[in-house]
């Protein structure tokens, strides 16, 4: 999976309105844009836009049933989204570790430069 794909997926799920559309599909199963629009506080047009982004990110697929187009969640892609969340948390852990290292080193250097604190003076 490329970094571009990750970015796509992440920006798709980072939007709360889109997550709401996705929630609806996770809980209620496959549905048409009109059916979804009845259950969320935005227009069918907005729902269509969100579905298009979710589809592009691979999170939903569309199928035609008679005159109706229905959208369904792609579970594998949701797994991928979870993996990304875990990965992002890991990235923040690494950044926090770096901040700790840098701040502690800066503090040690400052203490030394100012003649050291009593407990550290020779």
């Amino acid at each position: 999976m490329s970094r571009d794909d990750d970015d796509h997926l992440w920006s798709a799920i980072a939007d709360p309105s889109r997550r709401r559309v996705l929630d609806r599909l996770v809980r209620g199963g496959a549905a048409s844009a009109s059916a979804i629009a009845e259950e969320v506080p935005f227009t069918r047009q907005a729902v269509m836009k969100h579905l298009a982004v979710l589809e592009e990110a691979g999170l939903v697929t569309r199928s035609r049933e008679g005159r109706e187009v229905r959208f369904a969640v792609q579970p594998e892609r949701l797994d991928e989204a979870t993996r990304i969340m875990v990965q992002l948390a890991g990235e923040w852990d690494r950044r926090l570790q770096s901040i700790k290292r840098i701040a502690e080193a800066a503090h040690r250097n400052a203490s030394r430069a100012s003649g050291g604190r009593p407990e550290r003076a020779r």
């Binding site: 970094r3 970015d7 992440w10 920006s11 799920i13 980072a14 939007d15 709360p16 309105s17 997550r19 709401r20 996705l22 929630d23 996770v26 809980r27 506080p41 949701l78 797994d79 989204a81 979870t82 993996r83 969340m85 875990v86 992002l88 948390a89 890991g90 923040w92 852990d93 950044r95 926090l96 570790q97 770096s98 901040i99 700790k100 840098i102 701040a103 502690e104 800066a106 503090h107 400052a110």
Partner: protein, 156 residues
């Protein structure tokens, strides 16, 4: 957390340095360049703008991310938005909010917590938001939680 994976990331670490030293580490551009982005410009005032440039470790893809400071209360709280996708001005609705919270644990000890979330962007009225949060807990998060449980040890 009750085993729930939300779409918010919430991590923390204890640092053996005073809060003002930690504050400088997370707000001074030349320091941010040591732990986050490769090139940083940042005006650390509410409404202040900046850019984080990621060179991608010498790769050919340079990513420039616009940043807007939402809150700066030294040395307690820093909040900024960074946009996804790149290239757009970060406003509520297209960006993630990163919040650093510093707690003094002693003269030379600071607890640093970072929360990254998109939830605050929600643009409908508060009662709707509460309802969404409830839906969110019941639906998506439960689902995500199950998936995360399956991932098992991958979770930090």
């Amino acid at each position: 957390m009750s085993g729930m994976v939300d779409l918010a990331i919430d991590r923390e670490i204890v640092i053996d340095a005073p809060a003002d030293v930690v504050w400088r580490t997370i707000t001074e551009p030349e320091q941010i360049e040591q732990w986050f982005a490769d090139h940083v410009e940042l005006d650390v005032r509410p409404g202040g703008a900046g850019t984080f440039v990621f060179d991608n470790r010498g790769g050919d893809r340079v990513v420039t991310v616009p940043v807007v400071v939402e809150a700066a209360d030294p040395p307690h709280r820093l909040a900024f938005r960074w946009s996804h996708p790149e290239g757009r001005s970060p406003v509520a609705g297209n960006s993630m909010l990163v919040e650093f919270l510093l707690t003094v644990e002693g003269a030379e000890r600071t607890r640093l917590r970072v929360v990254e979330t998109g939830i605050e962007e929600v643009q409908w009225p508060d009662d709707e938001k509460a309802r969404y949060a409830e839906d969110h807990r019941r639906g998506w998060s439960v689902h995500m939680g199950r998936l995360a449980d399956r991932l098992g040890g991958a979770r930090a």
